[in-house]
């Protein structure tokens, strides 16, 4: 007989559940401007601590401070604010459209707008993102027409993807936006492959992979890190840690690791953690990582610390798994309000102009929606033909699909 106590099985639990008082005291928030900025070619061993900290630029007074500040001018910041506001208004209208039965499904970005909007501005034309379903800011900030996004969401006759994909699973090659799979994690290792190809060809383009906190548990994540590390692929590997994987808190995927960024350290990949609700910090870190990739210094792993304010999708109710008011106490605030306040502090913006911009943005989204709805919505108006269903499975339709199309009578 062993004298040891019986073994106990451990299942991590979040700090709070519905009915409890929301509490983020466990999230350590360093002061804005306090985290150093290594040079891009510094040995990754020298800044391992950055995988455990949070790089922040905007302080509580709305000032941009510290070594990561100063990558954007007034005009660029105003544009960034506009993109985030557009994305938020777009989300609100599409969320409503789903409730109205105009589409089957929607996923909004509320709280996470800064990440994809600011990241897009660190890329060059020809670079390629391998996004998840919560990076539509890459499209908005890249000037992709909202009406085409809506055509896809409505699966209408002008849907660029001919009704074949679930809503929000966009694909826009010319805008550096890889086809969203909807299978979690798969795109992370593909981004590494794309970057390897660019290096094999002696090209100058870089890739960006995207994954959520929950999906870092997929093998694809680990394969991506191994291959990126081995071949020093010119890729920026982004983890969006929005605290929740549907109903599962991030501790289930993170396990005993201090942070998600720290996963990169074992692979020898420089890893940074950044305030995902700070447009300036996201842009600064993304630009730093992109420069590393462009200068053939290899991959960077970036964890964006943020909070998913809304539901995972239109198919779940967060009040069933977390306190209703949790988002209100999230210590990193709201990305739109923070950038707005910063611009006001800079003297480049005002409450009045912000109100006016909100109205303009809403108008722009409604105009796009009206145009898109003319092409139909999921159950009304124009839709892709049943014949389209058989097209594009292969470059050339094989005989068995021809027979089936004939059988279907389309």
């Amino acid at each position: 007989m062993s004298e040891d106590a019986p073994l106990r099985f451990h299942v991590p639990e979040p700090e709070v559940r519905p009915g409890d008082r929301p509490d983020f005291s466990n999230v350590k928030i360093p002061q804005a401007g306090s985290v150093r900025r290594p040079s891009v070619d510094e040995d990754a061993e020298q800044f391992r601590d950055l995988a455990y900290s949070i790089i922040r630029v905007l302080n509580r007074k709305g000032e941009a401070v510290g070594p990561w500040a100063g990558t954007l001018d007034d005009e660029e910041l105003l544009q960034g604010l506009r993109h985030m506001m557009l994305l938020r208004a777009f989300d609100a209208r599409m969320q409503m459209a789903q409730r109205q039965g105009k589409t089957s499904f929607y996923m909004q970005h509320m709280g996470e707008e800064a990440i994809s909007c600011a990241f897009r501005k660190a890329l060059n034309p020809g670079d390629m993102n391998f996004p998840t379903y919560r990076q539509a800011g890459l499209l908005i900030a890249g000037g992709y027409p909202m009406v085409d996004m809506m055509n896809q969401i409505f699966s209408n006759e002008a849907d660029p993807l001919k009704g074949r994909q679930l809503p929000v699973m966009y694909s826009a090659k010319d805008h550096g936006f890889f086809s969203i799979s909807g299978n979690l994690g798969t795109q992370f290792v593909q981004a590494v492959g794309w970057a390897m190809a660019s290096a094999i060809k002696g090209d100058s383009k870089i890739a960006a992979g995207w994954i959520g906190d929950g999906s870092t548990a997929e093998s694809d994540f680990h394969a991506a890190l191994v291959f990126a590390s081995t071949y020093r692929a010119p890729v920026v590997l982004n983890i969006v840690n929005n605290q929740w994987a549907i109903s599962t808190f991030q501790g289930i995927a993170r396990g005993g690791s201090g942070t998600f960024a720290a996963r990169g350290l074992g692979f020898g990949i420089p890893a940074l953690r950044v305030d995902g609700n700070d447009y300036l910090a996201v842009h600064a870190v993304a630009s730093w990582a992109a420069e590393r990739a462009r200068r053939n210094l290899g991959p960077t792993l970036v964890e964006y610390v943020t909070y998913r304010v809304g539901a995972h999708s239109t198919s779940d109710d967060p009040s069933a798994y977390r306190p209703k008011t949790e988002s209100e106490v999230w210590p990193l605030g709201d990305p739109v309000i923070r950038l707005k306040n910063h611009l006001i502090v800079r003297g480049a913006w005002s409450e009045e102009r912000h109100k006016q911009a909100e109205a303009e943005v809403l108008d722009e989204v409604i105009t796009a929606q009206k145009a898109a709805e003319k092409n139909g919505t999921l159950h009304a108006g124009g839709k892709p033909s049943a014949r389209d269903m058989f097209e594009g499975v292969y470059a050339e339709m094989p005989p068995h699909l021809r027979r089936q199309r004939q059988q279907a009578g389309v």
Binding site: Q190, G193, W194, M196, A197, S219, V226, G392
Partner: protein
Amino acid sequence: MPRKTMIEAIRDAMDVSMERDDNVVVFGEDVGYFGGVFRATQGLQQKYGSSRCFDTPISELGIVGTAVGMASYGLKPCVEVQFADYVYPAYDQIVSEAARLRYRSNGQFTCPIVVRMPTGGGIFGGQTHSQSPEALFTHVSGLKVVVPSNPHDAKGLLIAAIADPDPVIFLEPKRLYNGPFDGHHDRPVTPWSKHELGEVPAGYYEIPLGKAAVRREGKDMTVLAYGTMVYVAEAAASETGIDAEIVDLRTLLPLDLDAIVASVSKTGRCVIVHEATGTSGFGAELAALVQQHCFFHLEAPIARVTGWDTPYPHAQEWDYFPGPARLGRAMLETMEA
């Protein structure tokens, strides 16, 4: 004409494809410096450099996942999975990604990759070096599935697979690498150097995907086979004296239904043989198609001869393997039915 082993023919196919198109890259476990555990890529790294032929970490998911990304960039990766038995970690990347990319992006992104893998048993490889997983791929829309049976075809089919704009699963019956093994494991195998299908033309030639070949013309029955089973069928025909027409399918997806229908309509009898497990095996698809398209020509029930529905055993390899005796019995029964 020079005669080559199947491995030499496969290496030749990659060589001429790499020579012709700078976008063709070859990689996998042990594939670079060493030239592959079966030597299929021997010399390619020396000839084309380590940016076009290289070793990878042991991660089939990573091999195929990066290949999908490279293909979406514009390269044409031809990757090796060391044994078909090892492909399962990459299955999601093949099924959910490679196979669907063209469709789901409406042609914005495509995935012209080839995943080569040695398949089948007969080498005392046990359950982890003997499987025949073709049906797991023929069930997937968007893939093409090829199983060559000789050096001449292997080269032309692999060249066509690499040139193909869509993902191709290229299953190489490893027991055929050195000669046309007919299931008589107690006898020496004729080397490809003494077989006419070992004649491999130099340079670039394609054998179109989706076209079967009649290996033996006959009037009594049709045997539908692919890979190693082509030679098992030849042995069974000669040992039973049945005048069987042996159709080597070569490509399972897309399938050459016309060739199958033409043969079975002529002979009126059909036996299907494959090494993979029987239940939900590719033979089930073949039987259904033959029934559907040749029903009024059939004079006997369609028979299937397959591996048993067990994991591939080690010591009992020859009890498992559908050899000429088992196939011959099924052929005789089909003649008598």
